[in-house]
Symmetry: C2
DNA sequence: ATGCGTTATGATGAAAAATTCATATCGAAT
DNA sequence: ATTCGATATGAATTTTTCATCATAACGCAT
């Protein structure tokens, strides 16, 4: 049995943090933004890097700040270079934790998915 | 340290199947619909059960049929009872597989999430 | 042949989300 | 005080998504 109707199925997933009532706090989108900010040191630069609009990103970050109880970002405006945005230590720890979690989930998910596909293809058709 | 800024964080996730190019094929929403159809034996009844519109559901199912290579549903219309919709054997196997996968992921996710929170709360603050 | 309940579809409109455009604010350096 | 580049926001516009309404087609039983 070389091919099966399941062979081109892929698995995708999303994870996100919420508060006790289920309101979204931090998900993949904002996680990527925060990572880019950490690398670039600037919101504007991070947006260019990701190819998303400044306006949109700014809204997203505002909603994070509003919902999360503590600061992830340190913003400075003015100055000779116009300003900058960077992550607080806690922001860095949080995205690092998200990184690790993603790595773990990637492998676990795909492992289990492979098993699932095997089962689907073997016992039937 | 009784409380921490992380203590009311929760984790949520979504999984879905796609084709090789990332187009969504089957996710939680359609999975629930299919389950309801399997239980009710009718699209109309399934929609009422879930509290969603027939029109919407019908669109969703059409998109599944279009993208997936094989049939999940067996539809009959007319007849004394007006008609019916049921799952094919393969449809049943697929949603059963989704069930199992979800169960596995639920426990794995929460286990790893707990570890993550522990790490966040212990080494820092 | 007609009545019934279900599947099948088009058309319209409302609501929400995303994008675009414009503009204000800030502060170090000159 | 003026310049400059980045942050901060409002407002309008477009796009996308979702909900509603109306209506056709179907086929078994009577």
């Amino acid at each position: 049995m070389a091919t099966s109707k399941y062979e081109n199925l892929r698995l995708q997933y999303k994870i996100w943090f919420t508060d006790e009532t289920g309101n979204g706090l931090l998900g993949d989108g904002k996680w990527k933004i925060l990572k880019a900010i950490d690398e670039e040191g600037s919101l504007t630069a991070a947006c260019e890097k990701l190819g998303i609009t400044y306006r949109r990103t700014w809204n997203d970050l505002k909603s994070i700040e509003k919902r999360l109880g503590f600061a992830l970002l340190e913003k400075n405006r003015g100055g000779v270079d116009g300003g900058s945005t960077s992550l607080t230590v806690e922001g860095q720890r949080l995205i690092r934790a998200f990184d690790i979690f993603h790595e773990q989930m990637d492998t676990i998910m795909q492992d289990h998915f492979r098993l699932l596909i095997n089962e689907l293809t073997s016992n039937g058709e």
